[in-house]
């Protein structure tokens, strides 16, 4: 068991993915009236899993470098995908109700992950201060 284990790394990745997703959703909202615009989204599950499956790890560029389990040395970029959907007459495919709902949901999930990181760190603080934290 390490201090900063895979859970922390996964949470970190989740925060990263959620933030990018929020940006993608904001991008969709910004283009709600742009003709021909196709909205995009981030598949959170696959994005977090790709990282957990070995994408996270310290870059060992020299032989003397140590590897660290579950640390986020090289973080893979978050990829986005187009969302197919019905287009309006002007070719815009943004479903604003759904985007706003996803926006709210994603922010909540982000808060949850951030809170969990907080708790994780609180545990470490407690241990580091001999139980007096």
């Amino acid at each position: 068991m390490r201090l900063f284990d895979a859970t922390t790394a996964t949470l970190e990745r989740a925060l990263d993915v959620r933030l990018t997703r929020q940006g993608v959703l904001a991008h969709n909202v910004a283009n709600v009236d742009t003709p021909g615009f196709t909205p995009r989204d981030v598949n959170v599950t696959t994005q977090v899993q790709t990282a957990a499956a070995g994408g996270l790890g310290l870059d060992a560029t020299q032989g003397a470098h140590l590897g660290a389990e579950g640390s986020s040395g090289s973080r893979p970029a978050v990829t986005t995908e187009e969302v197919p959907g019905a287009r309006r007459l002007d070719g815009n495919a943004v479903d604003v109700d759904r985007v706003m709902a996803t926006l709210a949901e994603n922010a909540m999930q982000y808060s949850a992950a951030a809170r969990t990181v907080s708790r994780k760190l609180a545990i470490l603080r407690y241990v580091a201060s001999d139980g007096n934290g």
Binding site: L15, R18, L19, T20, Q22, G23, V24, L25, A26, H27, V29, A30, N31, V32, D33, T34, P35, G36, F37, R40, V78, T80, V96, M100, L103, A104, A107, Y110, S111, A114, R115, V117, S118, L121
Partner: protein, 138 residues
């Protein structure tokens, strides 16, 4: 993606919608202007919104997510009203009024205002997330 890039995405959406409001308001204000700087009746204007791909928006710090690419003039002819006493009446006594339809402009105005609200909400949500991220250190 960092928080500030995400903020800029929402900000560009706000700016684009505000410009739509400005243009619709300008059209409404000039609904009866029978002469402009060129002596011709006012022609209604329409903004053309252009999307920047998400990857481009991420790459360039200053690139907005959406922008008003150009403002075009509506070429449809305006309505002609018989007003022989009007100073802008032509030889037959007809005055050409701007091609502004107040109902159309009001609908545009409503749509832009809702779009602005949606962008403002997405900005607020992002702000709450940034706040939450800062609280990790507490």
């Amino acid at each position: 993606m960092d928080f500030f890039a995400a903020f800029r995405v929402s900000a560009s959406g706000l700016a684009a919608q505000r410009e739509r409001v400005d243009i619709a308001t300008g059209n409404l204000a000039n609904a009866e202007s029978t002469r402009g700087p060129d002596g011709q009746p006012y022609r209604r204007r329409d903004p053309v919104l252009e999307a920047v791909t998400f990857e481009d928006a991420l790459a360039g710090a200053e690139t907005p997510a959406v922008r008003v690419a150009e403002v075009v003039q509506d070429p449809t002819p305006g309505k002609r009203v018989y007003q022989p006493g009007h100073p802008d009446a032509d030889a037959q006594g007809f005055v050409t009024y701007p091609n502004v339809d107040p109902v159309h402009e009001m609908v545009n105005l409503m749509s832009a205002s809702r779009g602005y609200e949606a962008n403002a909400t997405s900005f607020e949500t992002l702000k709450a997330m940034a706040q939450r991220a800062l609280e990790i250190f507490r």
